[in-house]
Symmetry: C2
Subunit: 531 residues, 2 copies
């Protein structure tokens, strides 16, 4: 039994475009004389569709698309594809995340019977225990959507020859290996081969991992597809136990995966939104340098405009380093000094600020003036503003709302500062792209004379370790200090995290590469008493 895996990248709600993509893969599989083609979870609609699923017109379009695919594939090939299913139970219309098994015009529907918290599936879909089984070419196949449901497998184990697992799992550097291992272990445990078919491509903040694979009944990989890209492969499942075992691409590949995920995230944000060009503020610091390097790679250096906006507090090397970087990349830049604008604001505010000492107000003012310039350029030229904040800053509120937190999409907002440095080194792996001085100098916001990040924050290695425990690991002050971190420092950092919640409510959305990016992954009440 020859099975194709169509690892595709869909646009949410683009039923016509997705239909075309699906039928192209059907044609390809048909021409290769295969028996069955497998598509990912929610291939019909794109995933996650979120509240678009509340529109009955959206569901109608999705079901219509399945009917057209059924018609199209007649006398060509059998199909397993993810979509939505609507069924009526005593008057109420219930929605399911479902797989359609289509053979020559006949359709069998398997409903997803286990929800995880990913993308709020529970908000939209009902669950229903079902045996999950289909019968095809003398084989009994269990179709599992999303996370594989052990208990259903256990009930039907003696019958099952093959598990086909449709997913649309998004990338998280701290989960991807676990996710693959879990599936390999299930194959071994149940002694059944598994086909894992996942979609690729970014959907706004999330990046679907791609990386579909097939493992044999000992839980060994025999096929692994590209990560973060579309791919097409086929495999004769009857020969699986004799097939050569391969190594996973995941192992020790973290930073290159993060790199690929971000490139996919940038690229798809632009192409799927219909934009080509980006703009960003280039400060001379490591964050904006990394964002520029990534954007130039994803969009072409000619499509990224850098704006240098020195103030009275900018050091000479900030401009020099920035110029060296744009020269390395061959991308355009403009320089707009902000001092006269700053002076104008100061002048107009001074009658109201009499007797009040300079404080964070004046620092924020500089950041916000830069935000206004960037947005004016974005509006005028149609270049999309990239946000350059990192996760460490976002966590402790070291950034100015409506200033450096502006942007249509954050590129490195889910990277801790230590990961920012690691990725810079990776970008420079074959030669200097990001000037060495940008990477090695002490980080500074340059919003007051001689300011350094280390004036108000601990070293990033320590900061990031504490943040990781609190944010990714849900650890409290007590638990973190029990791990050996200074209690006073930890108290101060957790307080900063808590007090910056209002900023994160309005910060630019960011490409997610971890299991707990800010945004919909971490939902903290706006008003509360801290942990």
């Amino acid at each position: 039994m020859k099975i194709a895996i169509a690892q595709q990248d869909y646009i949410i709600g683009d039923f016509q475009g997705n239909f075309q993509k699906i039928t192209q893969a059907i044609d390809q599989a048909f021409l290769s004389e295969l028996d069955l083609i497998v598509f990912p979870e929610m291939a019909i609609c794109g995933y996650p569709s979120n509240d678009l699923l509340y529109y009955s017109s959206y569901i109608d379009s999705a079901i219509d698309s399945v009917n057209k695919i059924t018609e199209y594939a007649k006398n060509k090939i059998a199909i397993i594809i993810g979509g939505v299913h609507r069924s009526n139970h005593s008057g109420a219309s219930l929605l399911y995340n479902a797989a359609y098994f289509i053979t020559n015009g006949e359709v069998q529907i398997i409903q997803k019977n286990l929800h995880t918290n990913a993308n709020d599936d529970f908000r939209y879909f009902n669950t229903e225990e079902n045996h999950s089984l289909i019968y095809f070419e003398g084989k009994t196949i269990s179709i599992q959507i999303g996370e594989i449901n052990n208990s259903i497998l256990e009930k039907n184990l003696s019958e099952i020859d093959l598990i086909i697992n449709l997913t649309s799992i998004s990338y998280a550097h701290d989960l991807i290996e676990l996710q693959q291992n879990r599936i390999l272990q299930l194959a071994e445990q149940f002694q059944v081969p598994i086909i894992h078919c996942n979609s690729s491509g970014a959907q706004g903040e999330i990046v679907l991992k791609g990386g579909s694979f097939i493992c044999n009944s000992q839980g060994q990989l025999v096929l692994e597809m590209k990560y973060f890209k579309e791919d097409f492969a086929h495999f004769d499942i009857n020969n699986i136990e004799e097939s050569i075992v391969i190594e996973s691409q995941i192992i020790s590949n973290q930073i290159s995966f993060i790199h690929q995920a971000l490139i996919s995230g940038i690229k798809d944000f632009f192409t799927k939104s219909g934009f080509k060009k980006a703009v960003l503020g280039l400060s001379g610091g490591v964050d904006s340098a990394l964002v520029l390097a990534l954007a130039a790679e994803a969009l072409g250096a000619e499509n990224v405009l850098s704006v240098l906006m020195p103030s009275q507090y900018s050091s000479g090397h900030s401009i020099d380093d920035s110029l060296a970087l744009v020269k390395n990349l061959g991308s355009a830049h403009i320089i707009i000094p902000i001092q006269s604008t700053y002076n104008n604001f100061e002048e107009n505010l001074s009658p109201h600020f009499i007797g009040l000492a300079p404080n964070v107000t004046e620092e924020n003012l500089q950041a916000r003036i830069r935000g206004v310039y960037l947005m004016a350029l974005s509006n005028k030229f149609g270049n999309i503003l990239l946000n350059t904040s990192n996760k460490s800053e976002a966590a402790v509120g070291y950034g100015t709302l409506y200033g450096d937190l502006c942007g249509a999409i954050g590129v490195i907002g889910d990277l801790y500062k230590t990961q920012v440095y690691e990725l810079c080194r990776y970008i420079n792996r074959d030669g200097e792209i990001i000037p060495e001085n940008i990477i090695t100098k002490a980080p500074s916001a340059e919003l007051r004379p001689e300011q350094k990040d280390s004036d108000s924050l601990p070293e990033y290695e320590i900061l990031d370790a504490i943040l990781y425990q609190h944010i990714e690991q849900n650890k409290s002050l007590l638990e973190i200090s029990e791990l050996g971190y200074d209690k006073e420092l930890t108290t101060r950092i957790l307080k900063l995290v808590q007090n910056a919640e209002f900023k994160r409510y309005q910060a630019a959305p960011s490409i997610k590469v971890s299991s707990r990016g800010f945004g919909s992954d971490r939902r903290i009440p706006l008003v509360k008493k801290g942990l």
Copy 2:
């Protein structure tokens, strides 16, 4: 059997403060020689706690609090109170939204067995079918948390003497009457009296409705408590069928309820965050005028600073009308003309804008300059910036990101423009507070010469009707045009709604008064093809 209802307002995560509030009500009920006191859903923690529930230290504190309450109430009174419950099932720790029934140190736990989509309960809590019954003073009582579960009632109906319904329902003007009626109908259907105990007070964007009540076994109200405020009442349930039937406060009370909800929303946002003073931009238009009037009522006129920022496009009446309003209220104002700042930006941008005609860039620039001034004043004085955008504008993207969309909390962001006018009239019900000219003049953003909202938008009556169908009623273009609205106009409006998604991702959070406020009520993918 004399039962107290403690309708209280909690701070999320303030276990100590909530404990004190709870024990005060226990004392009050004990002194009144009552038998049982009922507290709302999640009284222990405050609701919704959201991802704070992922912290095991948070759950520990909640359980500790129940233990302290159990100890405190010994030999005083029986208690039914909402909180979290953690139980271990084959190694996994499962969390439940639960009610604790506490009598003299004995604790019985009833788990919530039905989730709705409200506040993502399904993200945190497991469900478990349970009979929901407790036995107290010779009566069989069904405890129902959140929405009342018909099927459980049907199973145990013959036994049940009383239903006690613990909730923390947030206010929505389009649901509140339905919610009460549904409970009254269930009482009548099952011929069982119901005690509905809801919390009050705002939690960030949401406003808990208060409005606890008791109905008899014919579904008639015999007690109804205050809306949007804390309240305490007690009732001898043995006399319920002889008690006088009362009218609901809800009937025909919509605009006064919206008014009270917004006042509660503003007040609690400030007091629970530890702030006292507000600042806002006063444009001379109806939106900012209404926000000022509401803020002055909620916080005291002396605590609200208005900032008038005229530009070259501001009409004379904008300043005059604004001055008349602050005079009516007796609140402070300052005037900062923005023209010199605008000229400075223009000058610095002009080398880069050569040959490019003025467009939306220059309009946004004015709005963003105002945002920068407001945030500078907010930073310097510690006044919290109130956002003044309405729901019609937010829907169609008629507002500037990082400009007039700035603010820590939006006051009227869940009111359509037609509701804004209605509320202005209500504010003026006993005499002019908002000058008549502000209400009657044609709305304008005043960002270019002679600009009027009606240049680019239809009349608000039509716009709001179409938006309501699309946003609250999930209707598609086809369905809306079938209702008789112009298809071309509807197409244009839905396109505007779709294209403004990126703005709503970063706009100020807003106090919610409908069933579908922007924010967590409406989750549309950032990148997608439109409906």
